[in-house]
Amino acid sequence: MDFLFLSRLQFAVATMFHFIFVPLTLGLSFLIAIMETRYVMTRDEIYLKMTRFWGKMFLINFALGVVTGLTLEFQFGTNWGEFSMFVGNIFGPILAFETTSAFFLESVFLGIWIFGWNKVSKGFHAACMWVVFAASTMSAYWIIVANAWMQHPVGYVMENGKAVLHDLSAVLFQEFAILQVMHVLSGAYVLSAFFVMSISAWHLLKKQHVEFFTRSFSMALVLGFVFSIFTVVEGDFHGADVAEKQPVKLAAMESFWETSTHAPVYLFALPDEENERNIIEIGAIPGLLSFLAFKDVNAEVKGLKEFPRQDRPNVLITSFAFKGMVGLGTLFIFLTGWGMIRRKKLSESPLFLKIMLWSMPLPYIANELGWILTEVGRQPWVVYGLLRTSDAGSAVSSPQVLASLAGFVLVYGLLGAIAFYLMAKHALKGPA
């Protein structure tokens, strides 16, 4: 196997594993900050118990997120040297911002939060979690600005075969980045809400710690409901932006081959990339794709055939990731909507609780599918339109990459299993 394929596989393993932990950090810190603030305001001990119970889950998750984040930084240099040299001028300021304005805040104040229970005032202690929340949100913003630049490069000029920074504010505030960061954050909040609801549902079904988990569930439910809707509405804008800036990705998302007006959306389509068509097409909704992409049913949407074969992403993966994500996102609105109706009588809704208990993996899958769509759909480019993935690798040998890849699979598999065990053990034990 060639080193490029192995490097890509390693990048996928490292990044997808990292992103198992990131969304919960982003969203659960928000919920915990609210819980602790309520405790400070009301001095109601149940909020303190909630803070500490969910806090412990947060910390196990956070540790995994931090250590796997190291890999993400190392691997640009180790495996993607040409890419690093190409984007260094653009990423430099972004990474300088991210590390010095966000990472330090996050880790230093989380340290105070974990070990400072008897050392700082209650109000300050709660404020530390708000800082952690704000800092993790900022770090999400910075790193997505970098990713958005790879999706839609702006504010640069080409010099000696590399991108050189021309206009920083164009890079930092481009529409693509703003839409993408909102999508990632809202997806993270939905995931965190389902995480809390699932564990709460388990206890509520067992009729234990009812007061504690009813309150936890309700808080998460509101967050989940609001952001399930937000994610879909915002995702629509994001999709329209993709249609404009990455037309080939849009065509691949919908497995759409022939350019036409009144372009339809198929509820299911199985692409045949060899023969440039779909083998199966079910449930065409005429004009919907034109409308979603350009807010006009008459608009012309470019099909995949418009683009040379060597410029197309893998249609099967891109379209399935997209449909899966959208389907799950829609399901989350129904589930949380149902929950909002049953909100006052959760304990009398065992069926709903059972469904929520088993729904925990779904937003994790939706989040990962979103990234698969984003990254696979950008191929064959690593920087859209400027640098091909095949030209971005380092001069490392296949055995080296194979060894490190095997190491990642082994170490991550083991650590993931242990983290899952610890979190499950703690979750099922309930509050102290």
């Binding site: 190392f74 040409e82 260094g88 920083l168």
Partner: protein, 342 residues
């Protein structure tokens, strides 16, 4: 002074900050199974670094990110050339981090034993390999005119590289012992003080030997001949050593820790000052070396990064300093009884 040169100093500063802060955590990881005689003592040791280790590690992330942003060519070539040692450092740091978090979450003896072992091995390898990597950078690696590394992993494990690894481990161990003198009490403290008094001699001997080896294996001294004032860095190292010894004897733990930080800073600056303006020298031909001038980003990016760093790094130093002060007292029983403690 050119902006590229300024970025070399910042790059060096970030590495020095990383070695000074994570250094004692790595050193404690190496010492930990030997000086923590009971489970309670081991928990005291872990909780002595619990509040700060994660923030310390961010200096490494920042140093990496700045290498990426300020010297993209160095980032790409260095990380590719040192692929295997860097991966091993990475795995070590990953395992060390989760070991801290996992260890005390389950009561079983065998569970804790596993993580005790992994804390030791991961800390030792990370410290040793960082030393090997930097010694090789000081010495130069087999870099050809296409910036391709012509050697193998085993070429990095040469006498000077190994000496660098041993030196790093000893520097960090002494720094860790000094930290434990601040944070522990009772028999644990006595053991740390006694061990620190012994390790001090080993460390001093190792530093002397390393300076000699540096003369034999590298050309770092060229810069010192041209600019004798640079001798201030090795002098810092010597002052730190003396001050560390005296402070340990007079039981002023904070000063001893500050002094061991100074030893590390002096040792690192000694090497970096000799390296300038090179960042990744070639041992094949001097002209194949990566320097601040042939590998830096464009002045515009460097300028923006300079503004960012000048605003945020002082702030970081303030609140990180605050966190250190907050957790400067001895680890108490009450502290290790909280749910979140290690």
């Amino acid at each position: 002074m050119t902006i590229q040169a300024v970025w070399f100093y910042i790059w060096g500063f970030l590495w020095v900050m990383y070695f000074m802060t994570d250094g004692f955590v790595l050193g404690i990881g190496v010492l930990y199974p030997f000086i923590g005689k009971s489970d309670k003592e081991r928990r005291v040791i872990l909780n002595s670094i619990g509040p700060v280790w994660d923030g310390n590690e961010v200096w490494l992330i920042t140093a990496g990110a700045i290498t990426f942003g300020a010297f993209p060519v160095v980032y790409a070539v260095m990380f590719t050339s040192l692929y295997t040692p860097l991966m091993l450092i990475l795995f070590s740091l990953i395992i060390r981090g989760v070991s801290f978090e996992f260890r005390s979450k389950v009561e079983f003896k065998s569970w804790r034993k596993v993580w005790d072992g992994s804390i030791f091995f991961s800390s030792f390898f990370a410290a040793f390999l960082l030393g090997v990597a930097f010694a090789n950078i000081f010495q130069g690696v087999m870099l050809d005119d296409d910036y391709l590394y012509r050697g193998t992993f085993m070429d990095l494990v040469n006498p000077y590289g190994v000496a660098g690894g041993i030196l790093f481990v000893l520097l960090f161990v002494q720094h860790g012992l000094s930290w434990l003198c601040i944070k522990t009490e009772g028999w644990l403290l006595v053991r740390c003080e006694r061990l620190a008094a012994k390790i001090w001699f080993v460390l001093t001997a190792c530093i002397v030997i390393f300076l000699g080896l540096t003369w034999a294996f590298t050309d770092l001294y060229n810069n010192y001949v041209q600019m004798p004032v640079l001798v201030i860095f090795p002098a810092m190292c010597v002052c730190g050593l003396v001050f560390n010894f005296v402070s340990l004897k007079s039981k002023r733990a904070f000063r001893a820790w500050g002094a061991s930080a100074l030893v590390i800073a002096g040792a690192a600056c000694f090497g970096l000052a000799g390296l300038f303006p090179r960042l990744f020298p070639s041992s094949i031909n001097e002209s194949f070396s990566l320097t601040v001038y042939n590998s830096a980003s464009e002045p515009k990016s460097l300028g923006i990064m300079l503004i960012v760093i000048s605003i945020f790094v002082p702030l970081v130093l303030i609140y990180q300093g605050y966190a250190y002060r907050l957790f400067s007292s001895k680890v108490t029983e009450k502290e290790i009884d909280t749910e979140e403690a290690y």
